[in-house]
């Protein structure tokens, strides 16, 4: 294997072009072409019918909800919805494909020609052009037993679970993504993430990457300059996390640059991504292109979406994530950079719920992007995985606003909530953390502190208020932090002046 070229060097000398295919499993109750239910994690081969098993005589019938979801996706990506389209058979032999052909769409996709605006972390918006989106059925799932690393090669035997066979998929294919330059890996990641967020907003899929609801195939090619013809591409299959998408593109750019630098040619092939080693390795060679013998599926009549129905779907599309973010930033009065941080931290929904719980947008942002973001980072987890709810933040903020807690006390309460000690009010009660608002105990503590530190007391009495902090500190210590520091300062000054 050729060595890798340093990434920065590679993108200085080569212009990367991407093409991304994203498959999303639709969250319909039943499968694409039959009445078998589909849900994650069922016992193998329990969600099957004669149709999903491809038994002799079985026939497909199109799931109308899946078509509606595909139309939603197409419309959300600004695509044209076909007035008539067909399914086709993609013929190939593999044990996880029960009919030995996949029912897909070939030359007549349901949606074509759209675009998706992708926002990068620094706020740059990159427009990805969409070639098409088409409907198809998923294959079953093979488990190879006895081989190395679950691969078929060297396996003793293989098991097939047909629960996934026939699950509805929409495949979204981009046009060549050009002009991303050195940000190509970032664009790829942001594109897949944007689609994931879009699928969720549209309600067409749970879109959980870790369950394989969303899978990406990433095509990468290099050319010497943007005006040169496209180079030979590789297709890295089944890259199934945002991070992996970014890293796989980055790796392929470095790898292909090395191949080209060595005067060799990039082999047109599918490649596998290895998360552990962060490299791709060759799979099937595609140059002797497989002949899938596509032809129109004779068991299904064409799909003819009624234009009025399509318009009805268009009118009922939910607000998409990007538009929503713009609206919320305005409503909340966040600067662009602030909103971007909130988005990147995955805090939009949390802040929205916190604001709904009666907290000002500014305070909500302070909690989630401050103390809680730090906690999440320390715990190496995501904000929405922290054991605290927006409602609890609302309660906490309320305690601060009514003077029960100082900011400092509030942080202690927060820590209590995060430790599973209950709601903020319960933590306050259990830990006895309310602000001491009675001057009596404070004056006692002040007198004690002045008496304990006569030098400082003398300085203060002489009008030098510099060391007053030491007295405040002692008082805070004595009251276990439950004093309001500003009030203590007032009282100290009063005390010294009056004696």
């Amino acid at each position: 294997m050729s060595a890798l070229v340093d990434y920065d060097d590679a993108v200085r000398r080569y212009d990367p072009v991407l093409g991304i295919e994203v498959h999303v499993e639709l969250g319909t109750r039943t499968k694409m072409f039959d009445g078998a239910e589909q849900s994650f994690g069922a016992e193998p081969n329990t969600q099957v019918t004669p149709v999903s098993l491809g038994l002799p005589g079985a026939l497909p019938a199109v799931n109308g909800t899946a078509v509606e979801y595909a139309v939603r996706i197409g419309l959300a990506m600004n695509c044209q919805i076909a007035t008539s389209c067909r399914f086709a058979r993609k013929n190939y032999f593999y044990p996880d494909v029960p009919k030995n052909f996949q029912t897909s769409q070939y030359d007549e996709p349901i949606a074509s020609g759209g675009w998706v605006d992708v926002e990068l972390e620094d706020g740059t918006v990159f427009r990805v052009l969409i070639e098409r989106a088409h409907m198809e059925e998923d294959a079953g799932k093979n488990t190879h037993v006895g081989g190395e690393g679950g691969r078929i090669h060297g396996a003793d035997y293989s098991l097939v679970d047909y629960n996934r066979a026939g699950v509805p998929l929409v495949e979204i294919v981009t046009k060549p993504i050009e002009g991303a330059g050195d940000r190509a890996p970032e664009v790829a990641r942001a594109y897949v993430q944007t689609l994931r967020d879009m699928f969720r907003a549209l309600g067409v899929s749970e879109a959980r990457m870790e369950r394989g609801n969303v899978r990406a195939d990433v095509n990468v090619s290099l050319r010497p300059s943007p005006d040169a013809p496209l180079g030979t591409r590789t297709e890295t299959k089944n890259v199934n996390s945002f991070r992996a998408v970014e890293r796989a593109v980055r790796h392929e750019i470095s790898r292909q640059a090395a191949v080209l630098d060595a005067g060799e040619v990039v082999v047109q092939e599918t490649r596998h991504w290895h998360e552990d080693r962060a490299v791709t390795s060759p799979g099937r060679i595609k140059s002797d292109a497989e002949d899938y013998r596509y032809f129109p599926e004779p068991d299904l009549v064409p799909i003819v979406p009624d234009p009025a129905w399509v318009e009805q779907i268009r009118a009922s599309l939910p607000e998409l994530p990007a538009a929503r973010r713009r609206r919320l930033a305005t409503e909340w009065g966040y600067a662009d950079a602030e909103m971007r941080d909130v988005v990147n931290a995955g805090a939009v929904e949390l802040i929205e719920a916190t604001v709904a719980a009666g907290v000002t947008p500014a305070a909500a942002r302070k909690w989630w992007m401050g103390e809680l973001a730090r906690t999440a980072k320390d715990r190496d987890t995501e904000l929405d995985a922290l054991p605290i709810t927006p409602a609890q933040i609302g309660q906490l903020q309320h305690l601060v606003d009514d003077g029960t807690l100082t900011d400092k006390l509030a942080r202690q309460v927060l820590e209590g909530v995060l430790s599973g000690e209950g709601d903020p009010e319960q933590v306050v009660a259990a830990r006895g953390l309310a602000v001491v608002s009675d001057d009596g105990p404070l004056l006692e503590a002040i007198d004690a502190a002045l008496a304990a530190q006569p030098d400082i007391a003398a300085k203060i009495r002489s009008g030098n208020l510099g060391p007053v902090g030491a007295i405040i500190g002692a008082v805070m210590k004595a009251t276990r932090g439950q004093a309001d520091a500003a009030r203590v300062r007032e009282l100290v000054v009063e005390r010294v002046t009056n004696t």
Binding site: P50, L53, G54, L55, P56, G57, A58, L59, P60, A61, V62, R89, N91, F93, Y94, P95, P98, K99, N100, F101, S158, V160, A289, D291, R293, Y294, F295, P298, D299, L300, V301
Partner: protein, 504 residues
């Protein structure tokens, strides 16, 4: 008992309704007939006597209880082995499905069961319905009841022979290019291919999805109308199923049987006759036309110029679809599984070994043809061109049906040939279907009714074709011709068939 098996389904149904006979008796009579003649005829691949008798007993009980029953309840039926039957072995005539017992019923079987018809068994056929003689069955030849040395037609030779040999009053066939009509013609029985989409294909083991259609195989036109009505109608499990209800076919048959065809325009298709057709076949066809004229029909000649290309288009479209439909038979999930004799046992090699051993030569021939026709670089020239021809044939039909209400032709160019005669000459075998194939390409319905005997004393069929959804016209014209001919013959044509030797 012998009378019971010779009754038409309608007559038997009447006898059941009036309780002159029980379904158990009728079913037993047919099982006895099967036991007696099927060793010679070999119409059945599987006989399910116990199930049939259980259904018959249940129907008798229900009738005794005064339940509202389907008119055909209790009348036994045979089902072509290409139709999936729950719990009953289904092979489609192929070794590759040997031992497969389906876990579900085809929609038409569900309807048959719901109506209370005892299923006697599954009938022999050319493997996956590929053939015109039933010689391509993986389980031996079926013999023509008129002459046991001759073919019973195909692919549904088993269903036609079963009905012709009185081993069942009714049978189900499937017709992709003539597999109901041509066997009917050569066995002196009635067979109808409904309008594409009017009988559900759910549970038919697909040969060519865009051409396949199930239909009735019977001894009378009225019986065919009754069975067609029973199995027809919309099925949400078949996307190509028509939404419209089946027309009143029984009424059409009854109307036709009165012998009045006044005002009906009958189109003789120029391209379906002449060279290649036996003189006896053409003679019977001409006589039948005269009878239709006598009944008041107006005979016109119509030309369908693209029918000339129908056979060529058919032998591209059918293999193309079949190559894909038959891909599922790979030894991975059901049926035959063959491990390679030596070398590693990989999925790919098991698939190859299973298909190599499980498929017969004709099936392999068509899979290879179809795979080639769909290949990149050849698709447009073959599959694409064939689809264009198909459109032209549909236009020919549309034009012809502006001039005629029905089109007619001989069903097949020849009477039954001898077993083995054309086995090594596939092209000559394919020519048997030259008159039946256009209907499948256009989706129009067709029927074959007995027209008499050829010069060799073997049955000749008369084909009637009607526009899409106008299946009722088949039954009207078919019944009129049947009535006129039977008057002339003094009884059904099958009465002239030689008695089969009965096994002891």
């Amino acid at each position: 008992m012998d009378d019971l098996v010779r009754m038409s389904a309608t007559a038997l149904a009447d006898a059941l309704t009036s309780r002159h006979v029980s379904s158990v008796e009728a079913t037993q009579a047919h099982l006895a007939r099967i036991a007696a003649v099927d060793p010679a005829v070999h119409a059945y691949l599987h006989v399910c006597g116990d199930d049939a008798l259980a259904t018959a007993a249940a129907v008798d009980q229900a009738r005794a209880a005064g339940d509202d029953l389907h008119p055909l309840a209790g009348v036994p039926i045979a089902v072509k082995d290409v139709v999936v039957t729950r719990g009953v072995p289904t092979t489609a005539g192929s070794r590759i499905l040997q031992g497969w017992v389906p876990p579900y019923d085809a929609t038409l079987v569900t309807r048959i069961k719901a109506a209370g018809l005892p299923i006697l068994g599954k009938t022999n056929m050319d493997e996956f319905a590929m053939g015109s003689s039933t010689e391509h069955s993986g389980y031996g030849d079926t013999h023509n009841p008129w002459d046991l040395d001759r073919i019973p037609g195909g692919s549904g030779g088993g269903s036609a022979a079963a009905v012709g040999a009185y081993e069942a009053p009714l049978a189900i066939g499937t017709d992709t290019g003539g597999s109901i009509r041509q066997p009917a013609a050569v066995t002196g029985t009635v067979g109808a291919k409904p309008t594409y989409g009017s009988v559900s294909r759910y549970g038919l083991i697909a040969l060519a999805s865009s051409l396949d259609q199930a239909g009735p195989v019977t001894r009378t036109v009225l019986d065919a109308a009754r069975l067609h009505e029973l199995i027809g109608g919309h099925d949400p499990l078949d996307s190509t199923s028509l939404a419209e209800p089946v027309p009143d076919l029984v009424a059409a048959a009854r109307r036709g049987a009165t012998g009045d065809l006044a005002g009906l325009r009958v189109g003789v298709v120029t391209e379906l006759g002449g060279e290649g057709y036996q003189p006896g076949v053409l003679a019977r066809f001409g006589e039948a036309l005269d009878l239709l004229t006598d009944a008041g029909a107006q005979v016109v000649e119509v030309s369908c110029p693209h029918f000339e290309y129908a056979l060529a288009a058919y032998y591209l479209i059918l293999p193309a679809e079949a190559s894909s439909n038959l891909a599922k038979f790979d030894g991975m999930r059901y049926g035959l599984r063959v491990e390679p004799a030596d070398g590693p046992v990989t999925a790919e090699r098991v698939m190859a070994a299973t298909r190599g051993q499980g498929f017969g030569d004709e099936v392999k021939r068509r899979i290879i043809l179809g795979t080639y026709a769909l290949s990149a670089g050849y698709y447009d020239a073959y599959y694409g061109s064939a689809q264009k021809v198909r459109t032209l044939i549909q236009r020919d039909f549309a034009a012809a049906f502006t001039r005629a209400d029905v089109l007619v032709s001989p069903t097949a160019p020849t009477t039954a040939f001898r077993l083995g005669e054309k086995l090594d000459d596939p092209l000559s075998m394919y020519l048997n279907d030259v008159a039946t194939i256009p209907a499948n390409l256009a989706g129009v319905p067709g029927i074959s009714v007995p027209a008499g005997l050829g010069d060799d004393g073997l049955p000749v069929g008369f084909q009637v074709l009607a526009p899409v959804r106008a299946d009722d016209r088949l039954y009207r014209v078919g019944a009129a011709l049947e009535a006129a001919l039977e008057t002339r013959w003094g009884g059904p044509l099958l009465a002239q068939a030689p008695e089969l030797e009965v096994a002891q």
